[in-house]
């Protein structure tokens, strides 16, 4: 009857997975949808092997936005960053497993958008000129992003 609000979605809304914060995240971003007040902060720890070592989200908002964040954090744990970066909007919708009306799409996609922002910010921070960094190759390489 209520596919959109099937038990799994409500479960993730009431007892979201990976809800909270990380002490020393490698990537963090606070996304929000000012139109409705949905807010999600994503935090990631990235292991030396380039995989998502740990992930947490906090926030408030509608069931769709929070459930989507909860499902997404489960999905990315242990995955290589490249996989996470490649996640698409459709992947989120598949995770939720329901038909989302255009009006509610932003709610569903906020978590992925926030996650991608976090990774982008982290990538931009690493690309900033810092010649002494370990593993550096060509110091003259490229203009700053």
């Amino acid at each position: 009857m209520d596919d959109l609000y099937r038990d799994e979605i409500l479960e993730h809304y009431r007892q979201p997975h990976n809800f909270g914060t990380l002490d020393a995240p490698d990537a963090v971003y606070e996304g929000n949808n000012p139109l409705c007040g949905d807010r999600i902060t994503m935090m990631l720890s990235v292991g030396a092997d380039g995989t998502v070592h740990d992930v947490a989200f906090s926030g408030r908002g509608c069931a769709i936005s929070q459930a989507s964040a909860s499902l997404l954090t489960d999905e990315v744990k242990g995955r290589p960053l490249s996989d996470v970066e490649a996640l698409t909007n459709q992947d989120i919708l598949d995770l939720l497993g329901i038909d989302i009306s255009p009006a509610r799409l932003k709610c569903a996609l906020l978590s992925l958008d926030t996650l991608h922002h976090a990774l982008r910010d982290r990538a931009a921070a690493s690309a900033a000129p810092a010649g002494d960094q370990a593993g550096a190759g060509d110091q003259a390489a490229g203009a700053p992003a």
Partner: protein
């Protein structure tokens, strides 16, 4: 049009027969439309007036020396007269047709504001305002280096009149406020506030978008200098609305948009402008929408706005009494009594976000609004990211409110059930 007894309360079942949308089947149900504050449904009389223009005399206005041109002009200007009478405006030249209240306010901000607001001038608004009566003044204030001040509201959604009186001492150039809050339904004491604003030398713009559809409005009595409303909220077509302003103010104002229609004589390097109201109606107007608005105004005038107001107050009273009883834990925001807030019931449920509520209610063919209703500052003040809003019109009935309550109970069952 349905038979109307001027002495009896409105019967929504009878009124609904005038609105074709209620014939549509929504999963076996009739639409319970509770978002009239966003836009109103359209009666057959309005739809047919628009169709008649488009089918039988769809000429441009003020131009054609042929039959349908004259008919179109007569209908368009006739609609202007109807709106003037409906608003109690002394002179139909004071009615400018615009697309909506937002455009009306922008017209004043551009054409009056840029000429009359200067550095360090104060524009006094309230914290209840819809973005339409906020953002244009922000842009004007930024451009002119003028100051904005805001009258706050209390926990029940009433303006804090002590603060209002203190803020008047800043001697604002312009005071702009909503006649009735679209966020909480609060009715402001417009007449009194206009008087007080005039006493300190301010001009006053009143946003009547939520007032004109729901209670009798007499602009001459209220005494403001500018009064705006949206036609699509008064059962008129989308694309209709009007600005009323005093003739002497309009005559002194430079144009807003320019081009054809609003001119008198045009030369290569200089142009003289038309008289009011046409000075402010550049280009071909939305003739169909204006004619439709005229029909809408006729429809409401035949019912009588006093009866409309009584009807909505009674519905609001019903909702305020019944919802807390039927929907445990519901929080209703805004003034306590129906008389102070007719027609709008803004609420939250502890269990579920308004978006989720609205989506679930949609399943039951109940339409409410969820979000911040174009009043982000108001919601920030209430510390609520979003609210649900049910709003009424002539076609709304107790059955709609009953369906809202049942739907909200359903939401509570889904969200509040055992983990």
């Amino acid at each position: 049009m349905a038979a109307v007894n001027h002495h009896s309360p409105l019967d929504p079942d009878v009124i609904r027969r005038d609105f074709p949308i209620f014939e549509r089947d929504f999963g076996g149900r009739r639409l319970a439309y509770l978002d009239s504050a966003a836009t109103a449904l359209k009666p057959r009389a309005v739809i047919e007036a628009v169709d008649a223009y488009n089918s039988r005399y769809s000429a441009n206005v003020h131009r054609g020396i042929y039959t349908i041109g004259e008919e179109a002009t007569a209908a368009y200007e006739g609609a202007r007269e109807k709106v003037a009478r409906f608003l109690g405006a002394p002179d139909s030249r004071e009615i400018i047709f615009v697309r909506n209240a937002t455009e009306a306010i922008n017209l004043v901000a551009y054409a009056w504001g840029r000429r009359n607001i200067g550095r360090a001038d104060t524009i006094l608004l309230t914290e209840l305002e819809h973005h339409a009566n906020l953002v244009p003044w922000q842009l004007l204030a930024q451009e002119k280096d003028a100051d904005l001040e805001f009258v706050p509201f209390d926990a029940e959604g009433h303006l804090i009149m002590d603060s209002w009186e203190v803020l008047l001492r800043t001697r604002p150039r312009l005071v702009a406020f909503t006649h009735k809050s679209n966020g909480l339904g609060t009715l402001l004491p417009a007449r009194q506030m206009v008087q007080q604003a005039h006493d300190v030398g301010a001009l006053v713009l009143v946003d009547g978008a939520q007032a004109v559809p729901h209670l009798p409005v007499d602009v001459a009595d209220i005494g403001a200098d500018f009064y705006v409303f949206s036609g699509h909220k008064v059962l008129g077509p989308t694309g209709s609305g009007a600005l009323w302003a005093r003739a002497e103010i309009l005559e002194a104002m430079p144009p807003f948009m320019s081009g054809g229609e609003m001119i008198s004589s045009v030369h290569l390097r200089h142009t003289t402008f038309n008289d009011i109201p046409h000075k402010f109606e550049a280009g071909t107007p939305d003739v169909a929408a204006a004619i439709g608005l005229g029909a809408a105004v006729d429809y409401l005038a035949a019912i009588g706005m006093e009866r409309v107001a009584e009807h909505e107050e009674a519905l609001t009273a019903y909702a305020l009494e019944m919802l807390p009883r039927e929907v445990p834990g519901i929080r209703i925001h805004g003034p306590r009594t129906a008389a102070e807030r007719a027609g709008i019931v803004t609420f939250t449920l502890p269990e579920a976000h308004p978006h989720d509520i609205a989506t679930l209610l949609d399943r039951e063919a109940v339409a409410i609004r969820a979000g911040h209703h174009c009043t982000q500052p108001l919601h920030e003040r209430l510390a609520l990211p979003a609210t649900g809003r049910a709003s009424f019109s002539v076609y709304s009935g107790r059955d709609d409110i009953d369906r809202l309550a049942a739907g909200l109970r359903g939401v509570q069952r889904i969200f509040g059930g055992p983990a």
